[in-house]
Symmetry: C2
Subunit: 155 residues, 2 copies
């Protein structure tokens, strides 16, 4: 099942173009029967880390898309800090991933749809590093649709 | 440098005995010039996961002691949930690790010394799964001494 039509892009903003890449990864998770969330890390116009949720395949609750993207980007850079980077993630980060983002000191977080249950904004803004700018709602509908379809199929 | 005298145990409680194991791992981190925090996961009297902080060696801010212990325990069990397990960790978990513990649905968290800056209790109790019991202050002084010595040496 293909929820998002990747062929139908006309005039997307830069954030939307990168979110589309995150959505592609979320779609891959969907096809592997994982909760469909995708993430990429961008530095100076280059994707330096990618991840999609693999909690089922790896039997590991820490294997969220963002965690894998953080680790991949750190490996790529050869350093722990992602100071001039942006995280694009299809769903608002959970407390764990937001807490991880704090340690990376990442510059920007752009997410698609909100997570009303475990999204970090529900908790405490201080979870996020004070230097991190947050932008929500990029391609929100597409991001939300993919995850809603997944859970609809499960019920 | 050996901060904690492991030979000097007389009548430790079960929690203290396990905390001592976590302290051993923290000591190993200390010797490798990593922020000295150690963690173990115990299930039915058996250590099923271990970890110590490896953020420097792995160049990865997500490589906290607890995260590695969670992953190791999940691998051991072959399942994502740590429902009848206890996490012993020398320092109060940060937001990321507390957020991870939520997903594991772990039964108990026992920590040694508080982390006033990024310890989860500073933020929001709901970060922790409602089924998780929290016990702080086990071998608090030993746990605190090790980490203080580390940072004292750095300055």
């Amino acid at each position: 099942m293909r929820v998002y039509n990747f062929e139908n892009d006309t005039s997307l903003s830069t954030d939307e173009l990168y979110m589309k890449e995150a959505l592609r990864l979320a779609q891959r998770a969907f096809e592997e029967d994982e909760v469909p969330i995708g993430a990429i890390i961008v530095s100076q116009g280059k994707i330096i880390g990618k991840g999609y949720n693999l909690t089922e395949r790896l039997n590991d609750v820490t294997a969220h898309a963002e965690m894998q993207a953080f680790t991949a980007a750190s490996n790529f850079i050869g350093g722990k800090y992602l100071k001039d980077c942006t995280l694009y993630v299809t769903i608002e980060p959970c407390v764990m991933c937001a807490g991880a983002s704090y340690w990376t000191q990442i510059s920007r977080i752009v997410y698609g749809a909100k997570d009303e249950k475990r999204g970090f904004t529900k908790f405490n803004q201080q979870i996020i590093h004070p230097k991190t700018e947050i932008i929500g709602g990029v391609m929100e509908e597409d991001c939300a649709t993919l995850i809603k379809s997944f859970f609809r199929n499960k019920r």
